[in-house]
């Protein structure tokens, strides 16, 4: 909401304001290791990307780290990921199980970065419902979609929602749709997706409900604050779960996907 206020005040003031490109003295910061790892519940490829931060001014393409050793441990044994030589590392056909704690260790030029997390359980989508609405200030006429599921009472749950409406994807890191059960624990959650456009009749709607742990949820909130600066928080790097100051996160995701065709 602060964004709206801010945008408005800028609009009001921009009638007299002036912009120009300036040179600022900026020391290039220290270079930090960035590890992006996403382990999916079930049998999937496990992909890890290791890089260094780049310059901010000038060439800002990522600098891959090609000589790292990346090892996943599930409490029973170590699994070493295969390096593609371009900063990408992979473990093919790995079965990740809910309730198991996984530890990811990345060794890079003598530095070791470790993150761990417990794979959450899948929370299944119960129904995708939809309701026709007339055009208003906030939306065109069409079907507002809603995701419905039963929140498990025994645990704190953290969700990320992604939606595909007839090939248009919503819920990337520019528009993260995040939800926790802080006020709703153990309830049936019926969450209308005001954040996505309305669907038309006969559109194919797919929703993905991803459960994650609190650390990953905090990281995603940090990513949201970073991308949508101006929400009041001071600019900062999202806090991930790696030690030794590595950026990025070891995300453990348990997802359920459902589809529906909008029938008028």
């Amino acid at each position: 909401m602060k964004k709206i206020i801010f945008a408005f005040s800028i609009l009001a003031i921009s009638t007299v304001s002036c912009r120009k490109i300036i040179d600022i003295e900026q020391e290039e910061g220290d270079k930090r290791t960035v590890i992006e790892a996403t382990l999916l519940e079930g049998t999937h490829s496990f992909d890890v990307k290791v890089s260094k931060t780049s310059n901010f001014f000038g060439d800002n393409t990522p600098v891959p780290i090609t000589n790292a050793t990346v090892v996943l441990n599930d409490g029973a044994g170590d699994y070493t990921l295969t390096s593609f030589g371009d900063g990408n590392y992979q473990l093919v056909g790995f079965n990740a199980v809910s309730g198991t704690e996984y530890t990811l260790t990345v060794n890079e030029n003598g530095n070791s970065f470790v993150a761990k997390g417990i794979m959450p359980a899948v929370v299944p989508i119960d129904t995708i419902s939809y309701e026709f609405v007339e055009a208003s200030t906030f939306n065109d006429s069409g079907y507002i979609t809603q995701i419905e599921f039963n929140d498990p009472a025994a645990t704190d749950n953290y969700y990320r929602i992604e939606v595909d409406i007839q090939g248009t994807y919503y819920g990337d890191i520019f528009n993260l749709i995040l939800l926790d059960d802080g006020f709703l624990n153990g309830n049936r959650i019926e969450f209308p997706l005001f954040a996505v456009d309305v669907a038309d009749a006969f559109d194919n709607v797919t929703m993905k409900l991803t459960s994650c742990d609190r650390a990953t949820f905090t990281y995603l909130e940090g990513v949201d604050a970073l991308i949508n600066a101006g929400n009041g928080a001071p600019p900062a790097n999202p806090t991930g779960n790696f030690n030794n100051g590595a950026l990025g996160n070891f995300s453990l995701y348990a997802s359920d996907t459902q589809s529906v065709v909008i029938l008028p």
């Binding site: 909401m1 005040s9 890089s51 931060t53 060439d59 990513v223 009041g232």
Partner: protein, 757 residues
């Protein structure tokens, strides 16, 4: 001698032309050069002397002295009216002060202004503004255009206690910080304490800005006002019963939205953008022992785009006061005070809308006594109780299926008792010592209160009934100020003070906003504790024509509050989860040279200062600059009076740029380029500097009517000072990032017409 009969002279000092109480006027005794009394904020004085014959001299700066020969053999009362000096050299003077007050008074680290004295200083859009003028003084700094509030000696905006007739004003900014909420036409006197606060003040860590509204003319009806580029003002005042009671009503409204009507853009044409202020005050003297005052302030800012977006915020305050003389030595004031600040915004039309509102409301009772024991000791004591209601926010909507959210009110009481003595130990040495004990109860409201650990996880929760104490804090606040006269024209002063601050403003880190929220101390948030020591040397030259001072200070700040990295703030009922706590230090040296007599008046000030913070969770626990760590600060103000008709003025300011957080690298998340920050506040905005000039033309003054025209140019050499910096893709070189600066103003000329009859 010890048993000689003593008698008390007491009374009030007023301006003969309009009956306004004179604050800080003096009563001197010709036969006893070191003995005297000073009138308080209600114009009251009391002086106890041994039986004898004396010549009393009543004076105030800018007024003709009045002499009275008395035979003191009984208590006597004098209600004296002083006439303004007829040789009206409109110098830049701090009225109401004896000429060498800066050297001879015990107080240090204090700045005083009255609106009359600032009328010639050029300002943005001709809107004379007492808060903006204070930022030209040493140790008081502005965050630049578009930043509301001010910083005193490295403290935050929320560490300033801003009082309007004793009522706290929570947000002193209009139009996102371009103007203050104080209409100069309604104000009599302002004192700003940067340190060495007397024990009667408390509740904020850095400073006290004590603003007294005019009482209104008790002699005759009058009107004054002004027409400006951005706003117009009108003040009406007059007696309720001649010489017994008076009232003043002062209003101001801006019409910035008229500019928008000229815009080719339809959305802008339909926009609202204005503010207004209304000050009201009335007083009535029941008899020589009792007088009552009622004052109020209402102000609001309104922004809107057609029917689809509305945003407004404002303060309301009310003060009911009763002055009572228990004896001619014991003066009492009782105040009932109300302060409110709220904001609301709404999106959508009436049938289909949602919006958000939040507020803070205080009920406050104050009882203050002044006991004028003898000519060497003045004792003050009193107590204060505040009941706070914080409404953190309510999301409302007329859309079905949209669940309203109403966060529970947070309740607290804030209380204090104090005792202070100002003692003239000898001709050369005087000392003011006091102790304040403040305590704070964070109260339940029929809900559960949670404890959080450093990671923000809930560790405990407990249910509290409404008004059940959930957390108690209290502490002693010693206050000490001493003066030693080195010679007739120079003095050395020192002070120490400790201040507790129990309520805190969680402010946006990048720019202050009307939606910044106040939160109480609680089980998770400790009160801020700020200690300051200061030392100063004061020297006047050429019969007080020049004032010079240098002050050094050191502050230690405990329990400072900041957001954790990546905090989520909007409509967060558990905002305390997002906070982290640390400490800070601030230190500096302030140099000040002022010329106060003659055709040319003005001042030059230079401040070197640092303000650093230390939080475990930020910058690896190392000290880093606070946003307001403005290392070098220079202000120069010059006013030249050519003759009775023409006055010209100029001011120039220079400040180190604000400390800000820039990215120092980049990386990718899910394939998207994002910035990497190596630390908070490690970079700087470009330095800020600006020159303003103005000319005032006074029409011939008659008994019935006076007026003047003021022409000013803000930012005369068109410096583009930084409001914000954005990092964008270089159009001529895609893939490369460049810094784009937004500046709000280049050259802004303005004209204002002021009148009084």
């Amino acid at each position: 001698m010890a048993n000689a009969q003593q008698y008390t002279i007491s009374g009030t000092l007023k301006d003969a032309s309009n009956g306004e109480d004179l604050i800080g006027a003096t009563v001197k005794v010709k036969e006893l050069p070191t003995v005297g009394a000073v009138s308080n904020v209600y114009g009251f004085f009391s002086l106890t002397l041994e039986k004898g014959n004396y010549t009393l001299i009543f004076t105030s700066l800018g007024y003709e002295p009045v002499e009275k020969k008395i035979q003191l053999s009984a208590n006597q009362r004098f209600d004296i009216e002083l006439a303004e000096q007829s040789t009206k050299l409109k110098e830049f003077e701090v009225t109401g002060e004896i000429e060498d007050a800066n050297v001879s008074s015990t107080e240090m680290s204090i700045e005083k202004l009255d609106p009359k004295s600032i009328e010639a200083i050029p300002v943005l859009l001709g809107e004379k503004d007492i808060v903006k003028t204070f930022t030209l003084m040493p140790g008081i700094k502005s965050g630049g255009e578009g930043n509301g509030g001010f910083f005193v000696r490295g403290g935050g905006v929320d560490q300033n206690l801003i009082l309007l007739d004793e009522a706290v004003v929570y947000n002193a900014s209009h139009l996102l910080g371009f103007f203050s909420v104080f209409n100069s036409d309604a104000i009599k006197d302002v004192s700003l304490y940067k340190g060495g606060m007397p024990a009667e003040y408390g509740g904020r860590g850095s400073s006290v800005m004590d603003i007294t509204m005019k009482d209104g003319n008790s002699k005759k009806f009058g009107a004054s006002g002004g027409l400006g580029v951005i706003s117009s003002r009108l003040t009406l005042e007059g007696p309720i019963v001649k010489d017994k009671g008076s009232f003043v009503v002062s209003g101001r409204r801006s019409y910035a939205d008229l500019f928008l009507k000229l815009s080719p853009d339809e959305d802008l044409r339909d926009s609202k953008l204005y503010f207004y202020d209304l000050n009201l005050k009335a007083n009535y003297k029941i008899n020589d022992k009792n007088r009552v005052y009622l004052s109020g302030y209402f102000g609001r800012d309104v922004l809107g785009v057609g029917e689809t977006f509305g945003f407004n915020w404002g303060n309301a305050t009310g003060t009911l006061r009763w002055n009572h003389l228990f004896s001619d030595k014991l003066f009492s004031n009782t105040s009932l005070i109300l302060s409110n600040y709220d904001y609301e915004f709404k999106i959508g039309s009436d049938e289909e809308s949602f919006g958000f509102k939040a507020s803070i409301l205080d009920y406050n009772i104050k009882q203050d006594f002044s006991y004028f024991l003898n000519e060497k000791n003045t004792i003050k004591f009193g107590l204060n109780m505040i009941y706070h209601t914080f409404d953190p926010g309510e999301l409302f909507s007329s859309i079905s299926g949209f669940n309203p959210i109403n966060l529970n009110d947070r309740l607290a009481t804030e209380n204090a008792v104090y005792l202070q003595n100002e003692q003239k130990v000898s001709e050369l040495f005087s000392i003011q010592y006091g102790l304040r004990y403040s305590f704070f109860n964070y109260l339940g409201n029929n809900d559960s209160i949670f404890d959080y650990n450093e990671a923000g996880n809930t560790t405990n929760s407990r249910y509290y009934n409404r008004h059940e104490t959930a957390k108690f804090y209290g502490g002693f606040e010693p206050r000490l100020a001493a003066k030693y006269m080195l010679s007739e024209v120079s003095s050395l002063k020192a002070s120490y003070n400790r201040n507790y601050q129990y309520i805190h403003l969680l402010s946006n880190a990048t720019a202050s906003s009307p939606t910044d929220s106040w939160v109480p101390s609680s089980n998770n948030v400790k009160p801020q504790i700020i200690d300051q020591i200061a030392l100063g040397y004061f020297r006047n030259f050429k019969k007080n024509a020049y004032e010079f001072s240098v002050e050094g200070y050191y502050k230690n700040l405990q329990n400072q509050i900041d957001y954790k990295d990546g905090a989520d703030l909007f409509l967060n009922g558990e905002v305390e989860r997002e906070l982290t706590f640390g400490s800070g230090i601030a230190y500096g040296a302030e140099f000040y040279l002022k010329k106060r007599k003659g055709a040319f008046t003005g001042w030059l000030s230079y401040t070197y200062s640092r303000s650093l913070r230390k939080f475990d969770a930020i910058n690896n626990g190392e000290y880093y600059p606070a946003r307001q760590d403005l290392i070098h600060d220079i202000s120069a103000v010059g006013i030249y009076k050519f003759n009775e008709k023409w006055t010209a003025s100029a001011s120039w300011v220079y400040t180190t740029g604000l400390a800000v957080t820039y990215p120092s690298g980049g990386y990718q998340i899910e394939g998207v380029n994002v910035p990497y920050y190596s630390g908070r506040n490690q970079s700087r905005f470009p330095d800020y500097h600006r020159m303003d000039v103005g000319v005032t033309w006074y029409n011939k003054k008659t008994d019935k009517f006076e007026s003047n025209w003021n022409f000013s140019i803000y930012n005369v050499y068109g410096r583009e000072n930084t409001f914000s910096i954005n990092f964008i893709d270089d159009e001529s070189n895609p893939g490369q990032t460049v810094a784009e600066q937004t500046a709000l103003f280049k050259i802004i000329p303005s004209v204002t017409y002021n009148f009084k009859f």
